[in-house]
Amino acid sequence: MRAGALDAYNAAATGPHGNPSGAHRLARDAQRLLDEARDAVAAAVGGDPGGVIFTAGGTEADNLAIAGVLGARGGVAVCPAAEHHAVLYPVENSGGRVVAHREDGRVDLDNLTAALDEEVSVVSVMAVNNESGVIQPLDPIADLVAKHAPDAVLHTDAVQAAAWLDLPEHTRRADLVSISGHKFGGPMGVGALVVRNEVALTPLLQGGGQERGRRAGSHNVAGIVALGAAIAETAAERLETNARVAGLRDRLANGLLEMVPGTVESGNRADKVPGSCHLCFEGIESEALLFLLEQGGVYASAASSCASGAQEPSHVLAAMGVPRSMARGSLRLSLGASSTAADVDRVLAVLPPAVERLRARG
């Protein structure tokens, strides 16, 4: 966690606060902490504080967006094929429509148009892809939704975007926006769904009526306070962070492309957030590469892990038309606000010989 978020977490977790749902002074103190966090999230994401629903992370926020709209309005959900599984599975499992991508990772607008009609009640398109780092322009998608599915709600999973993009601007046309604390220096397992335009949602969790009846359950006060502190800090530092991290990322990606033959960068660099370096190495298996990188003190990931912890072939790269033989050697090197030049140096020292070893002996 960011230092500011951790301080806020500790203060809230150890201070004499009550359950914000209570009626006494300690409860009111806790309620004030929640309200301040709500203001911080609303300001950073863009929206009214009353529209902020705190959740246990991005997955719950995404599920609430899809299932909540379907529950309240019925209809059909639509999303692109490279969405996070937290969107893709609720859409698929509700009988929704999944739209093919372009090879550069952007949504194919013709395919999207073909999937839109008056039956559609919710369209979900992530602001930034979690594997490829590709930014999805949302305005043209909102235009298409307004034209072809005028009654539909537009949701965006901005979990990966929150650290890098000006969310009030980039997501301005979305009705629902998901974020998750751990992507911007906040705690894991705390997130929010920001509701705009008073979109009605059927709750996933019923109980004590917290979050205006849209998400029951006692609040994770310290986690929410830390989330608020982290997103406020992130927004304040964003321009400086983006410039610095983009420089690190470019040195990392350019260095690897130069040093390791048979390396392909996924998507167009100009379309990506600064913290994303996504590469495919020909002729190796990323599972083995991750092991060697770990031995060298580099902690990376490939695609997504299944419940057993095994690396699964990337559905994102498949959606972008990357051949499976190439996708087997995919690597996500994620940079963040705390990444340093020394981190980049370490990867540049450890990764090329690891790939060479695997190509020789794998």
């Binding site: 092991f291 060697l292 031995q295 299944c306 057993s308 912890g309 095994a310 690396q311 002996r361 794998g362």
Partner: protein, 336 residues
């Protein structure tokens, strides 16, 4: 580490012997499974044991290799009326090939498994896969394909122990899996669905005639591809026969299953193909074992044909025969 007691104790023993140990669980099968090594709860068990031992634990996804080298050939073999042994093909292509290559690429000197077998020098000083100390649990048959290069890099820590000793060691070490039941049967075939459901989903099954040795039709079967040499039940034969009838031949092309008496199943010879040897090719007098938990019988082998010292119950085509000298595996082959 499968999450079972044998590989868990194997890891613990290696640690006690001073090895630098990393635990690996293979993710082989993405479909339904109620045994074997691929369910999330088995991976959980392996990880928890590794945590308890204080070693790193990784999951390697060899699902593509498993599909290519085990599942697809298994289906293909059945479609030809053969009786394949997928565990042997998994050992041949996945555990002792892909995993050994992966281990080498990652800088490991040795790969240990929980198989109940030993590696020991024979009278000529050649290191061989050798029967495990627990005769009832011996698994030397299923790893007969190991050659000298593989044997040099494989360690079988529990092979010198009885299964009871292994469980006692697991209990002594406080392992949560000490009393976990042994895995049964083929890991990708569920007890509820069975072999026929698995194969029905993946291949065309054809009904067949059941005939006696004179060609008289006695019954019909739903799927000739699911019938195995030596099979007695499930043939639709009326009860009350004076002598039980056994499958003596399966011919998928003509969709014909031939049945006969027990004596009709006895062969003087068995023809083989694709022999593999742990060292040099061997011919002459050998002990030959035809299934995982059978006993080895004396025979003479000329490089292709096994001539049994005493007539031997017919071995289904596609099965493996394993050649022993004493307790040492010298090689094996597939039955034609």
């Amino acid at each position: 580490m499968s999450g079972g007691v044998d590989s868990s104790v194997a890891a613990a023993l290696l640690l006690e012997q001073g090895y630098d140990v990393v635990g690996v669980t293979l993710k082989l099968w993405g479909g339904d499974s109620d045994s074997g090594c691929c369910s999330v709860s088995d991976v959980d068990d392996a990880r928890r044991v590794a945590q308890q031992l204080g070693i790193d634990h990784h999951v390697f996804n060899f699902g593509d290799e498993f599909d290519t080298h085990v599942v697809e050939p298994y289906v293909q073999a059945h479609s030809q009326g053969l009786t394949p042994n997928p565990c042997i093909e998994c050992n041949r292509h996945v555990k002792f090939d892909k995993l050994l290559r992966r281990a080498d690429a990652l800088g490991f000197d040795l790969v240990a498994t929980g198989h109940h077998a030993r590696i020991a020098a024979d009278a000529d000083g050649v290191r061989r896969v050798t029967r495990g100390a627990d005769g009832a649990k011996d698994q030397s048959y299923v790893i007969y394909m190991l050659d000298q290069a593989q044997i040099a890099r494989v360690v079988l820590p529990v092979g010198a122990m009885t299964k009871d000793d292994v469980r006692a060691a697991a209990t002594r070490l406080g392992m949560r899996i000490a009393n976990k039941p042994d895995s049964q049967d083929v890991c990708f075939i569920t007890a509820t669905g069975g072999r026929s459901t698995f194969l029905t989903d993946r291949m065309e099954l054809t009904p067949g005639r059941v005939v006696d040795s004179d060609g008289n039709e006695l019954a019909t079967v739903e799927a000739v591809q699911l019938v195995t040499i030596g099979q007695r039940k499930g043939l639709g034969l009326a009860g009350g026969l004076r002598e039980p009838r056994y499958v003596t031949d399966v011919d998928v092309a003509s969709a014909t299953v031939t049945v006969g008496h027990r004596r009709d199943l006895l062969d003087a010879e068995t023809t083989t193909r694709n022999p593999v040897w742990s060292h040099e090719p061997v011919t002459g007098e050998l002990l030959v074992q035809v299934n995982a938990h059978g006993s080895a019988e004396p025979a003479d082998f000329d490089g292709e044909v096994i001539r049994w010292a005493k007539p031997h119950r017919r071995v289904a085509p596609g099965q493996s025969v394993v050649f022993y000298r004493g307790d040492h595996v010298v090689g094996g082959a597939l039955v034609v």
